[in-house]
């Protein structure tokens, strides 16, 4: 068993570091409904961690707990070994946790470039007055961050649409812009909520490639929710399986494939 500070090297030669985030006995209730029941798992630095489960298992709720949108009734979120105090979603973002949404949540009235630049907002500190006269620090920051944004835009191959308003883009490109907006903030953990929902095979392949590249080139730690089993098994280092708000499996894709509880949850179980 690995210790929380140990690191190891995967079969394909990537180094997975110590634990960045640990969920300790999280329980989340909405009135009488228990969405998440006593779940614990951890996310290690540099790994791709998948959360899977049937519909209504509580995956998105789990992601919302991590991004600070829901506050669990019981349990703790440990970030870099320290318990994270209750904070507003924008404070969580300032700590370096970025996410994408299941239903695209881009700013429709803005161009692709502005959407991506918005992702840099925690890196910019010039005040209202400096920005009003557009001199000195404000202008300099704008240029520096534009360079960073352009790098991500290049990387995700959306240069040709950078000045297009997002509302005019097709679905697949919107998903990519959303990934760009999350990625450009150089997050320590990147949360992807169904990055491949509603895509065709070709788009899924593109997106999978991007996710692997993001992990490889930027060393980003990724936690993702996905329904496509093939994708999950190929991409992820470790998988958490949830069902009815409970954790029923946790381990490498191979462990999960042979886990009886997981097979039962997905294929059903004979009651005899």
């Amino acid at each position: 068993m690995l210790d929380s500070t140990d690191s190891y090297v995967t079969d394909d030669g990537r180094t997975i570091g110590g634990v960045v985030m640990e969920m300790k006995n999280i329980t989340l209730r909405f009135g009488g409904v228990v969405a998440i029941k006593d779940i614990s798992f951890d996310i290690r630095e540099g790994e791709i961690r998948a959360i899977i489960g049937p519909n209504g298992a509580g995956k998105s709720s789990m992601l919302n707990v991590i991004s600070g949108f829901y506050v669990p009734q019981e349990g703790q979120v440990m970030f870099h070994g320290k318990p994270r105090p209750q904070m507003k979603p924008y404070e969580v973002a300032q700590q370096g946790i970025a996410r994408t949404f299941q239903n695209i949540a881009l700013f429709e009235g803005m161009t692709v470039l502005d959407n991506v630049m918005t992702g840099r907002l925690n890196k910019m500190s010039s005040g209202l007055f400096a920005q009003a006269i557009w001199r000195g620090k404000a202008e300099q920051e704008e240029i520096e961050n534009r360079e960073k944004a352009e790098k991500i835009i290049d990387f995700l191959e959306i240069q040709h649409i950078r000045k297009t308003p997002v509302a005019r883009l097709p679905y697949g490109l919107k998903k990519r812009v959303e990934l760009a907006r999350a990625l450009v903030s150089e997050p320590s953990i990147l949360l992807l909520d169904e990055p491949m929902a509603g895509m065709n095979v070709e788009e899924k392949e593109d997106m999978s490639r991007f996710i692997l590249d993001v992990n490889d080139e930027f060393g980003a730690t990724i936690a993702l929710i996905e329904h496509d089993m093939g994708v999950v098994m190929d991409l992820s280092d470790r998988v958490v399986v949830m069902d009815y708000g409970k954790k029923i499996g946790d381990g490498t894709p191979n462990d999960i494939r042979n886990n009886q509880a997981v097979i039962d949850a997905y294929l059903g179980v004979a009651h005899d």
């Binding site: 507003k88 924008y90 700013f107 009235g109 630049m117 907002l121 010039s126 920005q131 009003a132 404000a138």
Partner: protein, 358 residues
């Protein structure tokens, strides 16, 4: 055929971040500035200054202010008239309390005071949205007008309940009071408008503008990527209040000369400025100018055509004006929610290819 951007390549992000990235547009902007500062002051007369130019300049500032709040940050406000009254009364109190200070600073300080008041009335926006916020700002409108009528300290206990602008000069030339000349008042307002427009443009093209637009387009996503909704919304109220306060101060001190809160800054004023930005274009600085020009010129044009040319009675023309404005609002909301500014953009896009189909 109208290749404005042909051969105009950008080699640095500074070039690309300019207010007018296309050379042709930049030259057109310089031409407009030259005409506005260098030619109009020599041609101006009292009729054109009072009927069109001064109200256009002053309402443009108010429209820019409201556009930042409503068009960019998505917070509907019906309190513009009340906030203009704050600017006017603040300017009046400052002018009478510190007669030695240049009026230029009085107007800016009036803007600052309005920004504070506007921020205070923006606090409900943290909890409520849309129509409900509009009603809350409506309360601000009525409360502020009531306050300025009720508390006689605001109008220095004058018997008429009015505020009257004393004569003040800039570089020895009177800009307020009875003995002003058209070109001086025009230039005084133009300077404020030019500075306001540049500041508004700088704020909206940078990170502050992106935060506002993020809140407008999807406030939950904005918060999750790190926008502090409290600061974003209140800063929009503050900046908007600053511009609206300046326009209120100019409207009273330079244009009207004498004002009374209920008559000059009533609910009609709030709607007028709101209509300007709806017709001109929400979320566009150019749209603020276009909307203000349109709604200021419309009565003048109607009077020229209806009363002077066709010989109709004045009251009928006034009613026709109401009908036209109402119809235009409905047409714009249905057919082109982004207003004249969008029509302008579409026209430019079409002209690029005209007369070829592709």
């Amino acid at each position: 055929m109208f290749y404005r951007e042909a051969g105009d390549f950008k080699t640095s992000y500074t070039d690309d971040n300019q207010t007018f990235p296309i050379k042709f547009d930049r030259y057109r902007y310089y031409v407009v500035l030259t005409v506005a500062f260098g030619i109009i002051p020599f041609l101006i007369n009292d009729y054109w200054a009072n009927a069109f130019l001064l109200p256009f300049l002053i309402y443009s500032i108010a429209a820019i202010g409201l556009n930042i709040l409503t068009g960019y940050c998505g917070q509907v406000s019906l309190g513009t008239g009340g906030f203009m009254a704050v600017g006017a009364y603040a300017c009046y109190k400052l002018m009478t309390a510190f007669p030695d200070v240049n009026i230029f600073f009085h107007v800016i300080a009036a803007g600052g005071i309005t920004a504070i008041v506007c921020t205070a009335f923006g606090l409900p926006s943290l909890r409520i949205k849309g129509f409900y916020l509009a009603v809350a700002t409506l309360a601000a409108q009525f409360f502020l007008v009531w306050l300025f009528n009720k508390v006689s300290w605001f109008y220095n206990y004058s018997a008429s309940g009015q505020i009257n602008a004393p004569e003040r000069t800039v570089f020895g030339v009177p800009v307020t009071g009875a003995n002003t000349e058209a070109w001086a008042t025009y230039l005084f307002c133009l300077v404020f408008l030019a500075i306001s427009a540049i500041i508004a443009r700088n704020l909206t093209r940078g990170m502050q503008g992106r935060k506002w637009m993020a809140i407008r387009d999807m406030d939950i996503a904005a918060e999750i990527i790190g926008v502090n909704p409290l600061r974003a919304k209140l800063s929009a109220f503050a900046v908007s209040g600053f511009f609206i306060g300046i326009s209120g101060a100019l409207f009273f001190a330079v244009y009207l000369g004498a004002a009374e809160a209920g008559d000059s800054f009533g609910i009609q004023k709030s709607f007028l400025v709101l209509f300007m930005i709806i017709i001109g274009g929400l979320g566009s600085i150019f749209g603020s100018f276009a909307g203000a020009a349109f709604l200021v010129l419309l009565p003048v044009a109607l009077k020229l055509v209806g009363v002077d040319f066709l010989g109709w009675p004045t009251d009928i023309v006034a009613h026709i004006q109401l009908i036209i404005v109402g119809a235009l609002i409905i047409i714009f909301l249905i057919a082109e929610p982004h207003g004249i500014a969008q029509l302008w953009r579409v026209a430019k896009e079409k002209l690029r290819l005209w007369p070829f189909p592709h």
